[in-house]
């Protein structure tokens, strides 16, 4: 899966898992700040996304320093998943 496809997939999954009431995939920009940005995503949401990413992609982001880097933007998140995904699902 390309990074671009992954970004589109992530948009849908994030809106669903965080139950964002007033956001559509079109509102989400790959380079916009994800946490504290326009979507109103906060630190608890990040951890909810951590669980979703382990469930969906088999990747664990289990410390806060790494989390801050990975969840900087949709782009950084998709890149991280792309690089770390187990072979069989890439």
């Amino acid at each position: 899966m390309s990074v671009e496809t992954l970004i589109e997939e992530l948009k849908v999954k994030i809106i669903e898992v965080l139950d964002l009431p007033d956001i559509t995939p079109a509102d989400m920009d790959r380079d916009a700040r994800l946490i504290g940005g326009p979507a109103g995503i906060d630190s608890i949401d990040v951890l909810e996304m951590v669980m979703m990413i382990e469930k969906e992609y088999g990747i664990r982001i289990d410390n806060q320093e790494l989390g801050r880097e990975v969840f900087a933007t949709l782009g950084t998140l998709a890149e991280y998943i792309h690089q770390n995904q187990p072979e069989r699902t890439r």
Binding site: P21, D22, I44, L47, K55, G67
Partner: protein, 719 residues
């Protein structure tokens, strides 16, 4: 203003450091640690973290672990004392959860097996064990519960409501908290290292500690509780205010309450969980309070772990031991100073005289408590606060019919209002983004708070929030456990965990109303709302400003009938709640409300109730309407109690059996209280409720009785 100290006539403790006071002192002196591997349950291999697990927890196997831990500590505190305490006030968050989740995981949960699930059952168990027939209260404010419970006990004694109170906190390890905190990445895989530069989180643990507090110094008094302070961050559901705003407010309030200046503090027992955020916020609050003259300070949580609701009580007992033994504990786990904290704890225990200890406990929901413990020679202050009357300046309820106006219309038309409460209209004014993470229980609490404030004609933040709930956030609890067990204990939702704590609703309400005063959630089955009102009467800020007292419960298809025997018997699923906006100062047209009685122990409980109300004649003269709550599970007992009350007082006022109209849910009495306020305001009670003839109150009071295993009485209105 300085309040009277109360004396510690007995203490008991069980923690990962050992059983009892002697083992605890030895462990603190030796800088020992109680952190080890978890054996209570077996997480997946990649999710195993060190914990503070108590070894050997005796007691009946069918009694939940929290209750057994509480009994161990209480037995030690009450040893050699054959007189029953006047009240029991316990802080707990998990209650019977460890047993409940095990049964749910095995698909073996059935109604009748979970009789000790409720947070309130820990206090009830101890009350029965020691023959206490007075109030059995439960404070459930997450990790500040133990400290907040002790503050409430202190105020019950100061206000003359009790002479001796058994108080403390208890919590057992369980999957809910273990996986929940892990999902929040708040557990340090290497074990907690409070204040250390490389700290990564806390170590979850368990335990219990109890104090027998007494108005009299007595010969055995080891120490005294001189003051306590409560506050709310009103900032974030699970993270502390970055500058420690609420922590500072609680510490300041505690010192003021004790009549002590910061320079008189000899030792600060920190909340010091070891999470990066807590320790930083606490350090900032300490610097704001003490400036550059910091007293010796340490966190013992590197050795005990964080026992959640028990922590504040464990550390209150440790504070008393420090005073008694001239000991200052070290800070196990600390190696390197964190330049961001700008403070260094005592690395090792020291022997030195300790006159006065400040002990901190902070929790989810931004709920903070601080206590001041000092020697038993503390001079009692002269001032004795009088019994406080509270006045209802606003009221609200939510039922299947809708808000209070619609509920009254339905009742006047002879329709019941039992069913799922209508929430949507009540929350229209709250932005969708603020509601996004609110489960049903939190949404109910917020809607009630906003409606009661609006009815009071106010718009500012309330000076305090007191919320009673029998079962708390069942949606989030159910969702968390479902996901956990479906994934074989691999996936746990941090959002559901944060929302699942009983005090999440009061914390969210405070956040959205910017309410930074005391924030207390109580839980005690069918009298949870009455407990919230009693807590408010003891803890509410002075005559300036008004505050909120509410009761709410949500219905959950699976969990409600498992937990609540009256729901299991009820015909329809029902939920909702009620709220009162109160002032300690009299206002024109505002009916008074007073929690007059809370007790148990048949058969003499009804005669005790009549005595507390001032005797039969006073009841006949004052009472214009009797509203009784008889939970379905206790119908026979409740009917007998009602008959005994009517026979004993010869009262001829109309009787409204309100659960027939509200349906069965724990805080139905909060709906009844809100309706009683409306009846007082209009002076009449609809004929449909009073057997065909409208009742004229004629300025008389409405007596709200809760019957069943616990008997409560609230008086609303009247001369």
């Amino acid at each position: 203003m300085r309040g009277t100290p109360v004396f510690i006539a007995g203490m008991g403790i069980v923690s990962p450091l050992g059983h009892g006071l002697a083992q605890t002192v030895a462990a603190l002196e030796n800088h020992a640690t109680g952190i080890s591997a978890l054996t209570l349950f077996t997480p997946p291999a990649d999710r195993r973290l060190p914990v503070g697990q108590v070894r050997r927890v005796p007691g009946p196997e069918d009694l939940p672990r929290t209750h057994r831990l509480a009994r161990m500590a209480a037995d030690e505190a009450m040893a050699g004392d054959s007189t029953a305490p006047d009240a029991v006030v316990i802080g707990t968050t998990t209650g019977g959860m460890q047993k409940t989740e095990t049964l749910l995981r095995q698909n073996a949960a059935r109604p009748g097996l979970l009789t000790h699930h409720g947070a309130g059952t820990v206090a009830e168990d101890l009350a029965a064990r020691f023959g206490c027939t007075g109030p059995a209260m439960t404070v459930t404010t997450a990790c500040s519960s133990g400290g907040a419970a002790i503050k409430l006990a202190l105020e019950m004694i100061r206000s003359g409501r009790a002479r001796r109170v058994l108080t403390g906190g208890a919590d057992s390890l369980c999957r809910l908290t273990y996986y929940g905190f892990n999902a929040l990445q708040l557990l340090d895989p290497a074990g907690a290292r409070p204040l250390d530069e490389s700290r990564r989180g806390m170590t979850l643990s368990e335990g219990a500690a109890m104090l027998l507090l007494s108005a009299e110094p007595g010969p055995a008094a080891a120490a005294a509780v001189c003051g306590g302070g409560l506050s709310c961050d009103a900032w974030h559901p699970a993270a502390p205010h970055p500058e420690g705003r609420g922590a500072l407010a609680a510490m300041r309030a505690a010192l003021e309450d004790a009549g002590i200046a910061p320079r008189q503090v000899d030792y600060v027992n920190l909340h010091g969980t070891g999470t990066p955020d807590n320790d930083l916020a606490e350090a900032r609050a300490l610097r704001a309070l003490f400036g550059s003259r910091l007293p010796p300070l340490s966190s013992i949580k590197g050795a005990t772990g964080h026992a959640l609701a028990a922590a504040g009580a464990i550390e209150a007992v440790v504070a008393a031991l420090c005073v008694q033994h001239g000991l200052v504990p070290g800070n196990p786990g600390f190696k390197r100073r964190d330049p961001r904290l700008k403070l260094t704890p005592l690395t090792h225990p020291r022997r030195r005289a300790v006159g006065c200890v400040l002990s901190n406990s902070f929790g989810f929901g931004g709920n903070n408590a601080a206590l001041v413990v000092s020697g038993p020679d503390a001079a009692p202050a002269k001032s004795a606060p009088a019994h406080r009357r509270l006045y209802v300046v606003g009221s609200a309820c939510l039922t299947a019919a809708g808000d209070a106006g619609r509920t009254l219309q339905a009742l006047a038309a002879g329709r019941d209002c039992a069913g799922p409460a209508g929430l949507e209209a009540a929350l229209e004014a709250v932005p969708a983004r603020s509601r996004r993470r609110l489960g049903r229980f939190s949404a109910l609490a917020l809607a009630l708070a906003l409606a009661a404030r609006e009815d009071a004609g106010e718009s500012g933040p309330p000076a305090g929030i007191f919320l009673g709930t029998a079962w708390g956030a069942l949606s989030e609890t159910g969702r968390f456990l479902d996901e956990l067990f479906e994934s074989d204990e691999k996936f746990a939702s941090p959002t559901a965990f944060v929302g699942s704590v009983h005090n999440a609703a009061a914390g969210q309400t405070a956040l959205l109303m910017d309410a930074r005063g005391p924030n207390v959630t109580t839980s005690g089955g069918d009298s949870s709302f009455e407990q919230a009102l009693l807590a408010a009467a003891c803890l509410a800020p002075g005559k300036k400003g008004s505050f909120l007292v509410a009761g709410a419960d949500e219905h959950h298809g699976t969990l409600s009938p498992l937990f609540d025997p009256s729901v299991a018997l009820g015909k329809n699923a029902a939920d909702g709640g009620g709220a009162l906006y109160l002032s300690a100062a009299a206002r024109p047209g505002a009916p008074a409300v007073a929690p007059v009685f809370s007790g148990s122990g048949n058969p003499p409980v009804i005669s005790a109730l009549i005595r507390a109300l001032g005797g039969p004649e006073r009841v006949r003269n004052r009472c214009g309407l009797l509203m009784v709550g008889i939970p379905a599970a206790w119908r026979d007992t409740g009917r007998r109690q009602l008959q005994e009350f009517l026979d004993g007082t010869a009262l001829r006022a109309p009787v409204v059996d309100y659960r027939r109209w509200t349906g069965e849910f724990g805080s139905a009495s909060a709906v009844a209280a809100a309706l009683a306020v409306r009846f007082c305001r209009q002076g009449t009670v609809p004929a449909t409720l009073c057997g065909g003839t409208a009742a004229e109150l004629g300025g008389r009071a409405i007596l709200l009785l809760g019957l069943g295993t616990t008997v409560t009485a609230l008086e609303i209105g009247g001369p």
